[in-house]
């Protein structure tokens, strides 16, 4: 009936009977989230911290085994920090900057991510997904204790939905039998094979890549440095088309073998066969323990629309990419970042429902960028034709000797936050000489401010002024933007000025609750701010 589909790493929300199960009429909830993965928990956390009652249903009682996603990008950590859980992730995660690229038995080159100064978070941390999820759930517990109206129901499986005009009816199965609830809004975060998507008969089109990966997490006391090592056509026996070695916390290493499509999965998953591959790679004398292993295949595809009436989709349920570039979980967290404040405004009656259509358009833009990047990586790593292989190998041969060829080498373009260029909510870009990286649609880059960091001070709608006057707050049609008054002198390193002023003498930015720039000017103009604020809340369509 309700058997576990996987074993748990952490049992965090055991089943408990709730009053809804004994109600005569279905109890109605403002927001129900389906799926307790990283994206679902994050969605519940974002809404709950806004004071919006949110119910999360998961068909398990905690976090699944297996490291799965391991690379969490700076933007993800910044978003999690806004939710109050960036610090434990940074503390547990492994920070790395150096990567080495090999082709067969030759080292082609090495690179350093060379993180830009003045950011609170590094470009990436390696953190196994179960820890990422556990930190989110722990933050949910903390927020609940402080009164955030979040409820997580374990062993509550969604079995059927009925979409009505202004709500959705949900049939839920528990170990004690079924019950029914209603939701004003339903968020589907139930993964790549999303049962919710299937129940609603929705499309999920795209390109299927015929390849499988054997992933192994191994624990070893080895002398390998904390670097990302990637092999094209690895020299070890039967190791496939590519191979990745990456460090995780607790002496655990992730090894990915790209083993091809035409494999006997059961045979490949036998421990002796996994060990044979690992021994060939690491050398027979290296001692290790296999912590977890899995075979997976991937697809690059997305739904045409992430909003279907009162149902919204986020994370893998809405879009899938190849693993190259760490663009899966990271993009799912950006989905939540984009959706949370919009749904919050709609639920409080401060923005029209159509604002949620911009969740779909902005995040479809993000998904397309991720799919494009990960498809290009896949085509480089696994050339699909003889001539494609010819050029790939030409690049690798040149890269060993000439710096110019190294930017062509594509073993995954690591996840960067998407800029909503052309986004429907973007307002004026009226800051002559302003830096391109902070144009409307872009996520605000962090910068040091003497004692703290810029991003720590951006939440809700903010009028960010740099050496410009403005009132302390502007309220427009129920939505308030408060001022954050800064001066280029607040950051002696000059990063703040370089990132937000460029050649301009002063600047006024309207920043959205997800820390993306809505509009910018050289000086404060009340009429312009009010118009941009309305526009960013979806109240006026662009001319």
């Amino acid at each position: 009936m309700l058997d576990d589909r996987y074993s748990l790493a952490f049992r965090l929300y055991p089943y408990g009977r709730c009053a809804d199960q004994d109600a005569i009429d279905p109890v109605r909830h403002p927001v129900v989230v389906v799926g307790g993965g990283p994206v679902g928990i994050a969605a519940a956390l974002d809404l709950g911290l806004q004071g919006i009652p949110v119910l999360l249903l998961d068909d398990h009682e905690g976090v699944g085994q297996g490291s799965r996603a391991i690379c969490f990008a700076k933007r993800t950590l910044e978003i999690c920090d806004r939710w109050g859980t960036g610090a434990p992730m940074l503390e547990k995660g492994v920070v790395w900057n150096l990567g080495k690229v090999f082709h067969a038995d030759r080292k082609v080159f090495e690179f350093n991510l060379l993180p830009e100064e003045g950011h609170k978070f590094p470009a990436f941390v390696n953190l196994p997904q179960p820890y990422f999820e556990r930190f989110l759930v722990e933050r949910v517990r903390e927020a609940q204790a402080q009164g955030a109206p979040i409820e997580i129901r374990g062993k509550n499986r969604l079995d059927a939905v009925e979409a009505r005009e202004d709500h959705v009816l949900l049939d839920v199965t528990t170990p004690e039998g079924p019950y029914r609830i209603a939701a004003d809004w339903l968020i589907g975060c139930d993964g790549a094979s999303s049962p919710l998507r299937r129940m609603l008969g929705l499309d999920f089109e795209g390109r299927v890549f015929q390849d499988s990966f054997l992933i192994a997490d191994i624990r070893m006391k080895a002398e390998f440095p904390t670097e990302r090592w990637f092999w094209f056509e690895p020299p070890f026996k039967s190791s496939g088309a590519s191979c990745l070695l990456h460090k995780q916390p607790d002496d655990v290493w992730r090894v990915d073998f790209q083993i091809g499509w035409d494999v006997d999965r059961a045979e490949e998953m036998k421990e002796e066969n996994i060990r044979a591959r690992l021994d060939a790679m690491l050398g027979a004398e290296v001692d290790y323990e296999i912590v977890w292993s899995s075979i997976y295949t991937f697809q690059c595809r997305r739904m045409k629309n992430f909003r279907h009436g009162r149902v919204l989709f986020a994370g893998d349920a809405a879009h899938q990419v190849s693993p190259f570039g760490a663009r899966g979980a990271n993009s799912g967290i950006q989905d939540v970042d984009n959706l949370g404040w919009k749904l919050g405004l709609v639920l409080r009656g401060k923005a029209p429902e159509t604002l949620l259509d911009t969740y779909s358009s902005e995040r479809c833009h993000g998904a397309d960028e991720n799919i494009l990047n990960s498809t290009r990586s896949t085509d480089f790593i696994t050339p699909k034709s003889a001539v494609s292989r010819l050029f790939r190998n030409a690049v690798l041969d040149l890269a060993e000797h000439h710096a110019f060829a190294r930017p062509f080498v594509n073993s995954g373009r690591l996840s960067l936050p998407c800029i909503y260029d052309g986004g429907l909510l973007n307002g004026a870009d009226a800051l002559p000489g302003g830096p391109s990286r902070t144009r409307p649609g872009a996520p605000c880059p962090d910068a040091p401010l003497g004692g703290g960091q810029l991003l720590e001070r951006l939440g809700g709608f903010v009028i960010l002024t740099l050496d410009a006057d403005a009132p302390e707050a502007v309220e427009e049609d129920g939505v308030t933007a408060r001022r954050l008054a800064l001066s280029a002198a607040d950051d002696p390193s000059g990063a703040l000025a370089a990132r937000y002023l460029g050649d301009a003498r002063s600047a006024v930015y309207l920043v959205r609750p997800d820390q993306h720039v809505a509009a910018r000017w050289e000086t404060f103009d009340e009429g312009a701010i009010r118009a941009a604020l309305r526009h960013a809340c979806g109240k006026e369509r662009p001319a």
């Binding site: 010819l390 050029f391 190998n393 030409a394 690049v395 041969d397 040149l398 000439h402 110019f404 060829a405 062509f408």
Partner: protein, 65 residues
């Protein structure tokens, strides 16, 4: 910057001879790999995606019969 399709080399015969000579002694497979490396080096030297696209277009259309 746009692609130059007018004569641009002072010593066209010499350049052509160098190209053919560079392939001497290579197997067909080695020649293909050599050409691929050469194209990448020249693409970088061109330094502009749009100009390179014009070159791709010119190479493609001239081969059509």
């Amino acid at each position: 910057m746009s692609l130059t399709l007018d004569p641009n080399l002072a010593d066209a015969d010499g350049v052509y001879a160098d190209l053919i000579e560079a392939h001497e002694g290579l197997t067909e497979e080695e020649s293909h790999a050599f050409n691929a490396r050469l194209i990448l080096i020249l693409a970088n030297h061109v330094g502009d995606r749009e100009t390179f696209r014009q070159a791709l277009e010119a190479a493609g259309s001239a081969g059509k019969r």
